[in-house]
Amino acid sequence: MNVELVANKGEVPAAPLPAHSPLAIRGMTVSYGQKPVVFSVDMTVVEGSMTAIIGPNGAGKSTLLKAALGIVTPLAGQAQVFGQPLKAARHRIAYVPQRASVDWDFPTRVIDVVLMGLSRELGLLGRIRGHHKEKALACLARVGMTDFADRQIGQLSGGQQQRVFLARALAQNADLYLLDEPFAGVDAATEKAIIEVLKGLKSEGKTVVSVHHDLTTVRSYFDRVFLINTRKMAEGSVTEAFTPETLNQTYGGRLATGQIDQLELAAG
């Protein structure tokens, strides 16, 4: 199969890009080798919303985020950030990669990782001054990690590592936060701390998009969902788009009826 040709066809009827969406994706197609991982996906993130990207393993959730950020090169498709091309609006995005994507044995301290969030502000040769450190410490305080500022990052638990990553994103002072599975493998206290911070961001008018795995918490954490299984399956508010029908479609009947009933109860 010639992925490229099909993908180009898919791009033609794409809806026009809305001018003010924090993140608008049109006709996004990404493939690793022959198999498309994301196929002709349109997504329109609503400003000030908290959106969960949901789908089974290998459904292209992380890849969609990476393609939107230009980390992986798509075969076709485009992304706009606050109505501008990505290059012009990078400073308005903070990205939190999967925790497992980095080597936590790297010789650096917690505070240094948070300071990486100030890279753009510091420029190439700008020196780290007192107010930069204060800013980094304030971000650590928001995730409850002040006491760990001077620790080597390898000494942290998984949950603490995730909080440090979130603090680094906070230091970027962005308008759009893209998180890749921030709750994967973290303890309950961390999960609570992270969701508080994210809800705080929402109340400040920021937009949050997060790849999310735990279907039972979708309703309490997020107000919008984006269901994907290589193709877009559903998009909308939790009440509209997070239904047994869309879930069945997305997971291809892999969810047991019991699980869906539980979700219904949670909605109840």
Partner: protein, 308 residues
């Protein structure tokens, strides 16, 4: 030892050894963290075809064309490794192994097929260098350090490694921030708009240039050892990259000085009457330092999550 003896006979080889060690150890820190430490090995091997091609083109055995040939071969090798890794989807270690054995073999064939039998292209020289021979005959004592006539007789290798060392330092100073961010978290660095592929290639090319300058003076054994041993020992001393870089320089200098002294005097102390190869001894000392660090350094036990 008096100045009259030390300055002409030992000062320049010692300085060249120190600078070569530092020039390789500095980028070695990043190669190690990027799991590319083998690149030093790769570069030292591909230098052979580079030198042979330079000889075939120019027909003379002279330092400058040979160094250009070596540098060119190193850059070709670096680009080949990247290409194999990306296009063939092959693991970086295998891509390096593939590249350097192939190019080294090509160098051997080239050497065999071309009419170089009359010329002394010496494999042994390439391995061990000839540090002890880089003496400063014009010098007569410490006063010569300020004497322009004597200074003009300094071995040219000294100037070349000094420039290479300064170049490496300048690169690390300018590229420090994006280099650290992209080495730690490539995806995040890309989300900031950093050109991580370009940075990765720049690190390797800077390493290659350091290696070629050092190789010309001290041979490939030191180059390979200095890319790995001082940074690896330094990593065990600290959990901060800035401090690790400092330790790697300390260990590189220590290896060069101790290695040079032990090679010159060690056998005499033990009752033998011949000095041994300084390059071999410097590399050995760096290995011993790494062994000591692995046994006694403060940050041997770490609990970071392994990279995927």
């Amino acid at each position: 030892m008096s100045g009259e003896e030390f300055v002409p006979l030992s000062l320049t080889p010692l300085l060249i050894g120190i600078l070569a060690a530092v020039a390789c150890a500095l980028p070695g820190n990043f190669l190690l963290l990027r799991r590319q430490a083998l690149i030093g090995d790769a570069i030292s091997h591909v230098v052979l075809p580079g030198i042979v091609v330079a000889f075939l083109l120019t027909g003379i055995v002279a330092a400058v064309p040979m160094m250009l040939g070596a540098a060119g071969a190193a850059v070709v090798a670096v680009l080949m490794i990247e290409a194999i890794r990306r296009l063939g989807n092959i693991e970086p270690g295998a891509a390096m192994g593939l590249t350097f054995t192939t190019l080294f073999a090509a160098g051997v064939l080239l050497l065999e097929q071309s009419d170089t039998s009359g010329v002394h292209l010496d494999v042994e020289h390439a391995l061990y260098g000839n540090l002890e021979s880089l003496i400063w005959l014009e010098a007569s004592g410490w006063a010569s350090v300020l004497d322009p006539v004597a200074l003009s007789g300094l071995p040219p290798e000294l100037g070349r490694v000094a420039v290479a060392t300064l170049g490496v330092m300048a690169f690390l100073w300018i590229a420090w921030r994006p280099l650290v961010v992209s080495t730690f978290d490539e995806g995040f660095a890309q989300s900031l708009g950093m050109h991580t592929t370009g940075l990765g290639i720049a690190v390797v090319i800077v390493s290659a240039l350091a290696a070629v300058a050092a190789f010309d003076a001290v041979g490939s054994i030191i180059v390979i050892a200095m890319f790995i041993c001082p940074p690896a020992a330094a990593r065990l001393m600290t959990n901060r990259l800035e401090v690790q870089i400092g330790w790697s320089v300390v260990f590189a200098v220590l290896s060069a000085v101790l290695g040079y002294v032990f090679a010159g005097y060690g056998p005499l102390w033990l009752g033998y009457d011949h000095a041994v190869s300084a390059a071999g001894m410097i590399a050995t000392v760096s290995g011993v330092i790494l062994a000591l660090a692995a046994g006694f350094a403060p940050h041997r036990h770490r609990s970071g999550a392994p990279a995927l």
